[in-house]
């Protein structure tokens, strides 16, 4: 491998200029191909099996293009039937009175891309695969709550749950169905050809993947949701963000998607002719994660004081150019369950210092607060090389220094930070963005329940090691309640307690800056899905 260091040479530049002049004219002759749309992404999708892939976002995009789930979420957050004929509710008999028996009725006009009819057997096969211990599925999407399931007839599936689990509706929105007739005879699904050559029921058929370059899709003329308007859809991989921006500007890509335009280029991006920028709200909330098991963070007053001493608005404005939306909860403020009555602790270093003084964290000779021999000093980690996060860390570091707290930045490659360092609770604090497990369901059990601390042998993602019996109780009530108003009360209370205890400090909810050229129509940002490729059948170009 060549590790190059280069610069401009006049000779090469002149030679290049001459050649470019000639070739540039040739290139200008080629216009956009009619009916072809190229969506640019700066991550590469490699696994197209909807149950196996790991990289949410870029691989979810392929999933939405090629596959279907029983229902999907539209940009208003409503469930819309897709492979199913209706959304099961207690009112229509789809969910039993005790909430444990679910009946899913399926459409009869759905065909797989190879022409085979889609039936309940495919749904059953999908569940079998998800629960098969030999298959490397990334997540069981909440299907571990399933007790028994069967096909009542070719177009009806009956599922019995072990417990009353309201988020199960989201489980099936997140579970695309895979074809039994293709995969049942495959000896090892983990390495099946299907994973790179998928057959789905979705609006487009998979055409080809050119490694490191692009994936292309041709329309599924018989799509049950209506024939797609494009002739060819291309998901193009561009590794470098600057290069991707350049390609968008030159029209080599029609849509700038996954991860969005860096906020530093937002103002410039708005000036690109024949283009509009779109703010795409995401379920991700940016946090300072406290390791509550560390001696510094065992008292909530320390966490509260830090939250108060950090200039949240300055962080959003200075580092992110004001693009993200402030939030006081693990939910984005536009979510139906967001507690609008949460009291903002604000930015008040003086009060923060006073709180620490009162709690006995006094400033020592070295200028750093301490109590009973524990210095209020800690590290903060995130993925090394993430420039905006590094800037934010410096900001937080300065904020905390003012109230005599010593924060050291300790960033590492992603494969290090997000491994055992996080899971086994080796960190002090993290700067990280996460969203709820079965978003948009507000259930947050996995991240806050005291029995789900992996550092203490639990099976969940309670990496902050937060323990509160009242929260455990509320989490259980939240998933068992079916009525939305009733659930809202429970989650309001959970958010209130979390803001009081601050096991993690919510800063803002993410908004990615997407852009689409004016000749594209139908591209609509969706706050409830991890990619905006949720309606590609409706996309068109003029």
């Amino acid at each position: 491998m060549l590790r190059e260091r280069l610069t401009i040479g006049r000779r090469a530049l002149l030679a290049g200029t001459a050649a470019a002049t000639v070739l540039g004219h040739l290139r200008a002759a080629g216009a956009r191909t009619p009916g072809q749309l190229i969506i640019g992404m700066n991550e590469e999708a490699v696994n197209f099996n909807p149950l196996l892939y790991v990289n949410t976002g870029v691989e979810t995009s392929v999933e939405f293009i090629v596959f279907d789930a029983p229902w999907k979420l539209d940009p208003t957050g409503s469930f819309v039937p897709n492979l199913a004929t209706e959304i099961p509710t207690q009112a229509n008999g789809g969910i039993s009175a005790d909430g444990k028996t679910w009946t899913i009725k399926l459409r009869k006009d759905v065909l797989w891309h190879d022409g085979t009819p889609f039936t309940a057997a495919d749904m059953i096969f999908t569940l079998d695969t998800l629960l098969n211990p030999k298959v490397v599925v990334r997540s069981r999407n909440g299907h571990e709550h399933v007790e028994t399931y069967k096909a009542v007839d070719d177009y009806t599936v009956l599922i019995k749950l072990k417990d009353n689990f309201a988020p199960y509706l989201v489980s099936w929105q997140k579970t695309s169905v895979i074809p039994k007739h293709v995969l049942a005879s495959v000896p090892d699904i983990n390495t099946a050809d299907f994973n790179t050559n998928p057959i789905g029921t979705g609006p487009f058929r998979f055409k080809e993947r050119v490694a490191g370059s692009y994936i292309s899709f041709t329309p599924n003329e018989k799509y049950h949701g209506g024939k797609p308007k494009l002739n060819l859809l291309v998901q193009k991989y561009i590794a470098d963000q600057q290069t991707m921006y350049a390609q968008y500007q030159t029209g080599e890509i029609d849509i700038y998607d996954i991860n969005g335009i860096p906020p530093v280029l937002f103002a410039k991006a708005k000036q690109i002719p024949q283009s509009k920028t779109l703010l795409s709200p995401s379920p991700f909330v940016e946090f300072i994660y406290f390791n509550c098991a560390k001696p510094q963070f065992q008292e909530k007053v320390v966490r509260q004081a830090i939250y108060k001493a950090v200039d949240k608005k300055g962080w959003i404005d200075a580092v992110w150019y004001g693009v993200p939306v402030p939030t006081l909860s693990y939910l984005p403020p536009n979510h139906w369950a967001y507690n609008k009555n949460l009291e903002d602790p604000g930015y008040d270093p003086k009060q923060a210092a006073a709180m620490l003084d009162a709690a006995g964290w006094t400033v020592g000779a070295d200028g750093v607060r301490a109590k009973n021999g524990v210095r209020l000093a800690f590290t903060m980690s995130t993925t090394a090389g993430n420039k905006p996060r590094e800037q934010a860390q410096q900001l937080v570091q300065q904020n905390l220094k003012k109230i005599n707290i010593e924060m050291t930045i300790k960033n590492m490659p992603g494969s290090v930070v997000w491994g055992d360092y996080t899971i086994k609770g080796e960190y002090d604090t993290l700067m990280v963005a996460w969203d709820p497990l079965l978003y948009p369901d507000p259930d947050y059990t996995d991240r806050i329940h005291s029995k789900l601390i992996p550092a203490k042998g639990g099976s969940g993602s309670n990496y902050v090691q937060y323990e509160n019996p009242e929260i455990d109780d509320l989490c259980a009530k939240g998933v068992a309640a079916v009525d939305q108003a009733e659930r809202k009360k429970i989650y309001d209370r959970i958010q209130e307690i979390l803001l009081e205890d601050v096991p993690f400090a919510p800063i803002f909810s993410w908004q990615a800056i997407m852009a689409a050229h004016d000749w594209v129509s139908g591209y609509t940002v969706n706050p409830y899905t991890s990619t905006n490729s949720w309606n590609t059948g409706d996309w068109s170009v003029t």
């Binding site: 060549l2 040479g9 290139r27 696994n47 291309v234 193009k236 930070v417």
Partner: protein
């Protein structure tokens, strides 16, 4: 000669085994691992991570994993990528053509330009030409590629609109002209640093030669400057240059990390970066072994070529 090559290949096998042990150990001893990407996925729980770890065999002792890997590698089965489940051999081999295209063209260009500039600088030693080319070469070697690559994209794609901003071809076009326009910028960016290297090596090799008596003799015989420089001078200077060529041969398949990333060139460098980010051990090991093999072959080829060029060198004595 035959015996020499056989002995060198035997040494190479031992060397490759050593590379694999060190590579495998370093990869597994380094903190972190391939499961971090799972942690970052909000739908994945710690339970899922334990399950996946077991299915990938990552919960076994490292030496067991290594023995399994060696056995698989030698029997032609390089394993499956942790991300995508594809067989590793095609994942790696399918990147070779793109890298070969980029590296081959820039190496050839650099060779031609670098040798020419090097001779010119040596002949005009301690003149403006010599200092000028030295300065440009030093600049080329010391400024970062990503910066120059981005500058090239900015000027030629964004401002002037003459050339595409990265990629190997226009999706759905892929004609020869189209591919050449895509090749031009990354090739020039890469060729620049290689040209700088070649010009410096050629210059110093030629300066040594040009002071030799036989050059003076050749001039005294009345030979023209081209025959003196190329026929007598360059030919004698070939030994260090061929060695350099042998050292650069692995670049043909190894690719260029930075240039491929900046220009979204779908070659080995780009694959290596993403496999490294994800800690995709099977893919990393395969790239490492293919790379090491070419280093060994490059060195061997250079040694043989040097012996063929310079009759004073006898391989049996090496």
């Amino acid at each position: 000669m035959r015996r020499y090559v056989a002995a060198r290949l035997g040494q190479a096998a031992v060397l490759l085994l050593g590379v694999s042990v060190i590579g495998f150990a370093l990869m597994h001893l380094a903190p972190g691992g391939p499961l971090a990407l799972y942690t970052l996925n909000p739908t994945v729980t710690a339970q899922d991570i334990e399950r996946v770890k077991h299915l990938f065999g990552l919960d076994q002792p490292v030496y067991v994993q290594y023995v399994k890997w060696v056995y698989g590698f030698l029997s032609g089965h390089w394993g499956y990528s942790f991300f995508g489940g594809r067989s590793v051999a095609p994942i790696v081999l399918e990147r070779i053509p793109a890298t070969l295209e980029l590296m081959g063209s820039s190496l050839l260009l650099a060779l031609a330009m670098g040798v020419a500039i090097g001779i010119w600088a040596a002949v005009r030693r301690n003149t403006l030409v010599d200092y000028g080319t030295a300065t440009v070469a030093m600049l080329a070697l010391s400024l970062p590629t990503f910066w120059f690559g981005l500058l090239a994209i900015y000027v030629f794609a964004q401002v002037l609109g003459w050339l595409p901003a990265g990629g190997i071809e226009t999706t759905g076009n892929g004609s020869l002209i189209d591919r050449l326009t895509h090749l031009l910028l990354p090739m020039l960016v890469l060729a620049l640093v290689l040209t700088a290297q070649w010009s410096r090596y050629t210059r110093s090799a030629m300066i040594d030669i040009l002071t030799q008596d036989y050059i003076r003799t050749a001039r005294a015989k009345g030979l023209g400057p081209v025959r003196v420089l190329v026929g007598h001078g360059l030919r004698a200077a070939l030994v260090p240059l061929v060695t350099l060529a042998g050292l650069q041969l692995p670049l043909l398949v190894g690719g260029a990390l930075v240039t491929e990333t900046v220009f979204s060139w779908p070659g080995m460098g780009l694959l290596f970066i993403s496999a490294l980010d994800n800690r995709d051990y099977p893919v990393l090991m395969a790239i490492l072994m293919v790379g090491a093999l070419f280093v060994v072959l490059g060195n061997l080829a250079a040694d043989i070529a040097v012996a063929l060029i310079d009759p004073r060198i006898r391989l049996s004595h090496v």
